[in-house]
Symmetry: C3
Subunit: 280 residues, 3 copies
C-alpha cells in the first residue's frame, strides 16, 4: 500500500502528519512518499505540473493524494479516480487534469458516502476528514464505487499551450525548479541523432521534427542558439536550451539560475524558431 | 510499529536521520512519520501544542518521540509514558503536558537504565543516545518499567488560559500556522445549528453556550463580528473568526495572512464578548 | 530493505519523490529514510561530511543513495560499493571518501550495465535513471558485480586537515549546523576524567592527550579557554569549545549561534594550543 501525498501545507505545521495518522489508523502498514508539500498556497497549476512529472515513475497501484484546495468548505466536489497510472484522491478543481490528459480516468466518483468520512467533520480540513480516509480505504481495497456516485464531468484546467507552425513552435514556461531551470510546455522531445522529434505532451497530438543546431529559442527578451543535450556542453555561466529529464524544453544557465538570469516566470511565452518540419 | 518524531532540529542537518538509523537498528521495520522538525529552537510550548493537535489522529499504539530539549546535558530527566492515546518519549520539560491534560498518563518512567542507552553516550545529543533507543525498545515490546524507575511528578507547563464569565470568554493566541491562521485557546467549540457550545480544552471543565452571530471577537486592537463556519463565508481579504479544524477559535483573513493583518502573536489576549450563557 | 537518500535537490520539487517512485517499482516494500536534501547545490564536501556523521548509526545492510552530482552528463563514473558499514550508490566524485576513510570498500563497481538502468535515460537526471534503479536492485539482492565492471581507483576528496605537534593541534571548520555549532576536524575526542584523548578521525592515525582545562582554542580572531562537556557548563550567550556528539571539537555559543558570533565559516583554521602530549 503505497500512498503519495502532495499539499500546499508546508512542513512547519503538523497538518501533513495528521493526515498520515488518519491513514495509518485505517490502513495499518501504509507506506508514505511525500510528493511535495511546498506547493505555493492554492497554486493548483503548480500542483498539477508536479503530479504530471512524478506519477509515471510510480507503480500503477499507488494512491496519489493531493490536497491543494482553495475551495475547501464551498460546494466544490471531493473526488477519487482510477487511471492506468494510479489512483487519485483530492478536490475536483483540475489538479489532476495534466495527468489525466495523458491517461484518462476509467472511473471518477464523488466522495459523498459519510461512512468513509472521519466522524465530526470540519469545514476547513477536508484533507484530514474526507481525502485521507478515502485514500486509506481505497488502499485497503474498498471499491471506488462504494465511496460515492459517479462523476462524469470532472473540472479541467486549460492545458499548457503548444502551437506548431511551419516556422515556429510556441509554448510557455510551466515551472521553475529549485536549480532555476525554466521548464516549458514544448515537448516531449526525443533525440534522433542530432535531430529532435517533438510529440505534444499533455495529450496534444501534434508532431514536429527539426535539427537541434538549426533553431533559436526565444524566451522573454533573450534568445539562445540551438538545443543541447546536457548542461556540460556549454561553459559555466552560459545560458542554454536543453531537453530536460521529462522530455520538455528547458531554459537554464550552466551552474547558474536560468530563470533569474533570463528573467523568466511561469506563463511567459517561449518560442522555437527556425527550420521546423511539422507532421500532421 | 509506528513511530512519530518531532524535534527542533530542522532538516538541514542529518540529526533526524541519525535518530531513525538508531531506531531502525533496534526495531527493524519501524515505520516513521515526521510530526514536525520546524519547531523553533527550544520552543517547548510550540512543540506541546503541535503534539496536542496531532496525537488524537494517530493509532493508540503509536510511539511519539519528541526532542525539543533545551536542558540536554543538565539534570532534567528523560522520560517515557503511556496514556490511552499513545506512548510518549522525550525530555521531562512539560512538552507532553497539553496532551496529558486531556488524557493523563497511566505510567511515567525515567530513562535511567543504561542497558537501553546507546553505548558511548554524548552529553549533547540525547535524542540519539537515550530517546531513540528508548522509543525503539518500547516499539518492539520492552515494558516501560524496564527502562527505569517510576516518575510521579512529571514537569508541567502552565496550561493555555481560558476564563469564562457571564459576558465574556477570555483566552490567548496559542499558535500561528503557515497560512497565517491565529489559533486560540478558546475551545473546543461545536456547532449546534447557529449556536456554539464551548467545552474547555486542555482538560478545562468549563462550559458555555452562545449564538455565533451574537458575539464579537476582540483580538489585539481589532474586533470582528460573529463566528463563522468556513473561510468562504466572507469575501476575500476580510478578517473573520471561525471554528478551526481542532475545534479552537481561530482568527483568519480569507485568502490572506490573518496574524499579520491583525498584528497577532502567540500569547496575545483574545476575547469573545456578548450574550454568553455559562454552565457550571 | 532500508534505503537512505541524500541529494542537493531540496524539497520544493518532486525530484526526490520521483526517485522513491522508481525504487518502489523495483523494490516493493523498500523503506526510505531521508538523510538530507538540503545539501547546498553541488556541495560535495557538505554531503561527504553529513554522510560521515550519519552512516555509523544505520544497520550495515542499509543502502545509502547519494545524488550530489555536478558532473551529471559528463564522463564522471556512476558507482556502487560495499563496506562493512553499508552499501553506497552515487556519482564517483569523492562524496563517499570521508566515510570510506574509516571503512574502506571491499568492492566498487561502475554502473554500466544498461539492464539496470531505467529505459529512455536522460542526460540530466541520473538520480532517477541510473542511481535509483541501482540502489533498488541492490536492495532486492542483485549482486554488485552484476551492475558493471570493477573500479579500482574511485575519486577521493582531500581529507579534512588535522596536524599534531607537541604544542598544537591544527584543524579546520568542517560544517556549521542549524544551531550554529561550528564542527571542526579536530577529533575524535574521548573523555578520560578531565583529560581528553584525541584519535584522528577520517582515517588519520595520530593520537594526542591533553587536559581539557589546560588548553586554549583559537578560531578565527577569537580564542576560548578550555574544552567543555556540555553547553550548560557556561552561562547563556558565552562562547565555548566542546566535544560534539560525533566526537569532534565544536565551537558554540550557549543558546546562541556560535558560527555567527565567532565569524566562522567552513574551511577556517582552528587550533588547540597548550600542553599537548602527542603519541606516535
Amino acid at each position: 500500500m503505497l500512498i503519495t501525498l502532495m499539499t500546499d501545507f508546508g512542513l512547519d505545521d503538523v497538518y501533513v502528519a495528521v493526515m498520515k495518522g488518519v491513514i495509518s489508523g485505517i490502513a495499518p502498514g501504509a507506506a508514505f512518499v511525500d510528493l511535495c508539500h511546498a506547493v505555493a498556497p492554492q497554486d493548483i497549476r503548480g500542483a498539477a505540473f508536479r503530479l504530471w512529472m512524478a506519477v509515471p515513475y510510480f507503480p500503477a497501484h499507488t494512491v496519489h493524494l493531493v490536497v491543494v484546495d482553495p475551495g475547501v468548505g464551498t460546494s466544490r466536489r471531493a473526488i477519487a479516480a482510477r487511471t492506468s497510472q494510479g489512483i487519485f484522491v483530492g478536490p475536483d478543481n483540475g489538479v489532476f487534469s495534466y495527468v489525466w490528459a495523458e491517461s484518462s480516468p476509467r472511473q471518477v466518483v464523488e466522495l459523498e458516502n459519510p461512512r468513509y468520512h472521519l466522524p465530526g467533520m470540519s469545514t476547513t480540513f477536508h484533507g484530514r476528514d474526507i481525502f485521507s480516509p478515502a485514500a486509506a480505504h481505497v488502499a485497503v481495497g474498498v471499491d471506488l464505487g462504494a465511496l460515492g456516485p459517479e462523476v462524469t464531468d470532472p473540472v479541467g484546467l486549460p492545458l499548457p499551450s503548444l502551437e506548431l507552425t511551419a516556422c515556429q513552435i510556441a509554448g510557455e514556461v510551466l515551472y521553475v525548479d529549485r536549480f532555476g531551470n525554466a521548464i516549458t510546455s514544448i515537448g516531449r522531445l526525443t533525440w534522433d541523432r542530432d535531430t529532435l522529434l517533438l510529440e505534444g505532451a499533455f495529450g496534444g497530438c501534434g508532431r514536429a521534427r527539426f535539427r537541434a543546431s538549426g533553431v533559436q529559442v526565444v524566451a522573454g527578451r533573450r534568445q539562445v542558439y540551438g538545443i543541447h543535450g546536457a548542461y556540460g556542453e556549454v561553459s559555466v555561466g552560459t545560458a542554454l536550451a536543453l531537453v530536460g529529464s521529462s522530455g520538455l524544453l528547458e531554459l537554464a544557465v550552466s551552474q547558474g539560475h536560468g530563470a533569474q538570469a533570463l528573467d523568466l516566470q511561469v506563463g511567459d511565452p517561449v518560442m522555437v524558431v527556425g527550420d521546423i518540419e511539422v507532421e500532421l
